[in-house]
């Protein structure tokens, strides 16, 4: 076991991890932040997406120790108390949520996209979420949700 210090959703954590533990397993099994989902464990689906130092990454491919001193944002850190984040509001308003399993990773990919590109075109939106598979919605209502946010502060 090795000591790992990092910041998750604004909180500082010090945890003991196995050298080969992934960031995904650490978040889910140690911190019990189960909003981050496991869908394939091999970077093929995007369900485990979190934002690490400002960038969307597949937490199943990141060794936990690689996140030393990193700033991690998971879905649990997006809203403030009862108040939903505008992306979360937009997803609800547009019908972009069905089973909800891809939703946390999808929302974080959208956040990373909009942080870098506040007014994406439809093609840029599709590109930005192309690493997040969704089997329920067919993406259309997700794209609409992101379009509704264009130019707004997220």
């Amino acid at each position: 076991m090795e000591k790992l210090e990092l910041t998750v959703n604004g909180y500082h954590y010090q945890v003991q991890v196995e050298p080969d533990e992934t960031l995904l397993d650490m978040l889910r099994e140690q911190l019990k932040l189960t909003g981050t989902k496991s869908g394939c464990n091999k970077g093929e689906c995007g369900a485990c997406t979190v934002i690490m130092n400002g960038m969307a990454v597949n937490s199943c491919l990141v060794p936990a120790l690689q996140a030393r001193h990193a700033e991690i944002l998971t879905i649990e850190g997006l809203s403030k108390g009862e108040e939903l984040h505008p992306i979360q509001e937009a997803f609800l308003a547009s019908g972009a949520v069905q089973c909800g399993y891809c939703t946390p990773g999808m929302i974080l990919s959208v956040k990373a996209l909009l942080d870098n590109n506040p007014k994406p075109t439809v093609a840029e939106i599709q590109e930005g979420i192309s690493g997040n598979l969704c089997r329920c919605t067919g993406y259309e209502q997700i794209v609409q949700a992101v379009q509704s946010l264009a130019g707004k502060k997220v």
Binding site: E2, G43, G46, V57, L61, V62, Q66, G131, N132
Partner: protein
Amino acid sequence: MHWEAYHCVESIEEALQLLDEYAGASRVIAGGTDLVIQLKNHQRRVKALVSLSSIKALRYIEQDGETIRIGALSTHNELAKSDLLMEKAKALSLAARAVGSPQIRNIGTVGGNIVNAQPAADTAIALLALGAKAKIVSSTGERVEVLENLFKGIGESSVNPAKEIVTEFIFPAFFRSAFQRLALRKAFTLPIINVAVALLIDQKNICREARIAIGPVSTVPFRAKKAEAILNNEIISEKKLVLAAAEAMREINPRDSLLRGSAMYRRAMVKVLLERALRDAVVVK
């Protein structure tokens, strides 16, 4: 257990020292987007990993006179977003955009993509066409290799990740280049065929140098030298481009693949994609 120790280092020196201490039992990891999967699948085994991701000094994309230098730890996303590459090395820019997904491109590195030595690696195809050389360091010194020399077989590189680190790729800034790719899905998948071309065309429209790379048609990224010969020192014309593409189709030897398609089809696609890439490279300056 997949691996017993994971070290994040801040410098190349520190990395090389650790590699030496493990005496072959450790290996370098960069973005890890391929290696972590291979280790999870038990396709590779290793005792310790030495992570280079914190070495900021190896993340740069810059022009140095007639040469472009790329730090080996530059991510695919950094390559894809570089205006310099879009202008001077379009093939590499487009290839980097085609890799994996946004999440993969955020952490996967160009150095890792090369050392992973897959015959379809998009950036390998582009860098091969661009005539890149790789700078490789170890505790015993430094060597510079042309890219071709790095690929030994599927997943097999001549860079020894238990001892060596690729630090930089260097290639000329003067090529007109292009990249084409055909895949089953519009994103987030490996190519059926990918091709990159780099042409040096002088003011008389004579092709001074042509370089053509194709994947996955061999155990390593493939250089179509016979096709290049058709263009070299010739006036560029549509007819020549078509002839070169046809020649490339003859000199490759792809295999039938249930996933990627029959050899016959992929041979035909090499011709189509090469024609498109060559036309694109000729038009673009």
